[in-house]
Symmetry: C2
Subunit: 210 residues, 2 copies
C-alpha cells in the first residue's frame, strides 16, 4: 500500500497566514461570509482544514484579520493614487475623490466584502475596534487633504470646521461608493466621480473639476 498522505511544502508562517487571509477574502467576495467555511478556506488556499487552527486560534480571528487586511488595502488603493506626483493640494484632493469612486475601490466584490464584515461590527467587540480604527485612519487622512487644500487657497480653517468638512466629505464618498458598488449598472461611466467632485466642491466651496 502506497503512502496516500498529501504531500506538502513548508511555508513561512507569514506566507501561510497571507495565503489563508487571501483565500478568505476571495471566498467572501464571491460567496458571502457563509461561503467562508473552514473547509472552503483550506481548499481555496491549497491546504487541509486543520492547518487553519494552527495559525488562528478561532475562525473569528481569521475573519477579523481578513477584514483589517481588506480595509487597509482599500485605503491604500485610494490614497496611493499618484500621491505626490500632482501639482497642488486641491488637485490631490480631486484625485482622491476620483480614485474613491472608480475601480478598483468602487467595485461590487469589494462591497460584498465590506458588507459581510460591517454586519458584525455591532456585535463583535474586536470587529468594532478594527472598524473604528480603519474608519478614523481614513477620515483623518481625508481631513489632512482638505486642510491642505484650504491652506493652498489662502483660507485656513480651524479644527472644528475641518472635522465637520471631513465627516461630510467622507459621507459623500461612502454614499456614492455604496450606490455605485451596489447598483453599478445604473450609473454611466464617470458619472459618480463627476457628482462626487461637484458635491464635495460645493460643500467645501472650492472648484475641484477640470
Amino acid at each position: 500500500m502506497v503512502n496516500s498522505r498529501k504531500q506538502f511544502k513548508r511555508e513561512s508562517p507569514d506566507q501561510r497566514q497571507d495565503d489563508l487571509i487571501a483565500a478568505t477574502l476571495r471566498l467572501i467576495a464571491s460567496g458571502g461570509p457563509e461561503a467562508a467555511t473552514v473547509r472552503n478556506i483550506a481548499m481555496e488556499a491549497g491546504v487541509t482544514p486543520g492547518l487553519i487552527r494552527h495559525y488562528f486560534s478561532t475562525k473569528e480571528d481569521l475573519i477579523g484579520a481578513a477584514y483589517e487586511r481588506h480595509m487597509t488595502t482599500m485605503r491604500y488603493a485610494t490614497y496611493s493614487t499618484r500621491e505626490g506626483a500632482l501639482p497642488g493640494a486641491v488637485a490631490r484632493l480631486a484625485a482622491l475623490v476620483t480614485a474613491s469612486l472608480t475601480a478598483p475601490v468602487t467595485d461590487p466584490r469589494a462591497m460584498a466584502l465590506w458588507a459581510g464584515f460591517i454586519q458584525s461590527v455591532q456585535r463583535d467587540a474586536a470587529m468594532h475596534a478594527i472598524h473604528e480604527k480603519t474608519y478614523f485612519q481614513f477620515r483623518d487622512q481625508l481631513q489632512m487633504f482638505i486642510s491642505d487644500a484650504f491652506i493652498e487657497l489662502g483660507q485656513p480653517k480651524d479644527q472644528a470646521d475641518l472635522r465637520k468638512f471631513a465627516i461630510a466629505c467622507n459621507a459623500v464618498l461612502d454614499g456614492l461608493w455604496l450606490e455605485g458598488s451596489a447598483l453599478p449598472d445604473t450609473f454611466e461611466t464617470g458619472e459618480l466621480p463627476a457628482i462626487g467632485l461637484a458635491s464635495i466642491g460645493a460643500i467645501l466651496g472650492m472648484k475641484l473639476e477640470g
Copy 2:
C-alpha cells in the same frame, strides 16, 4: 398518558406571516443573519419550525420578505415625519434630512439589519431586485422633494440636473446614516443632522438650517 402535543391557536395567514417576518427582523437586528435560523425564528415567533415552510417555500423567501419589510418601514419612518404639516417645500426637505439622520432611522440595530441584507444583494437575484426597487423608490421621492424646493425658490431645474442632485443628496444621507449608525458614540447629539443640512444645502445652493 396525557396528550403532550403543543396547543396552538389558528391565526390568519397574513397575521402569521407578519409574526414570522417580525421575529426574523428582531433576530437579525440583535444577532446578525446567522442568528436567524429556522428554529430560532420559530421559537421567537412562538411556533414550531415546520410552520415556516408552510408559509415560505424556502428560508431565502422569508429573508427576502423581511428585507423588503424593513426597507419599506425605514422609508416610511423617513418620509412620514410631519409630512404636509410643514409650511413649504424647503422646510419639508429640511425635515426629511433631519429625520433621516436621527433615531429611529439612524440606529445601530437598523444598520445591523440593513448590513445583514445588503451583503446578499450581489449574489441573490431576488434580493438584488428588492434592493433596486426600494433604492429607486427612496431616491425618486427625494428627487421630488428637491424639485419642489427649487420650484418654491423660483429656480426650477431640468430632469438631468435633478437626477444628479438626488444621487448626491442620497449619498450624503446614506453616508452620514452609515457613519452615525456604525459609530454612534463618536458624534455629538444633533451633529449629524446639522452636517447633513449644511452639506445638502451647499450642494443644492439653498439654505436649509434654521
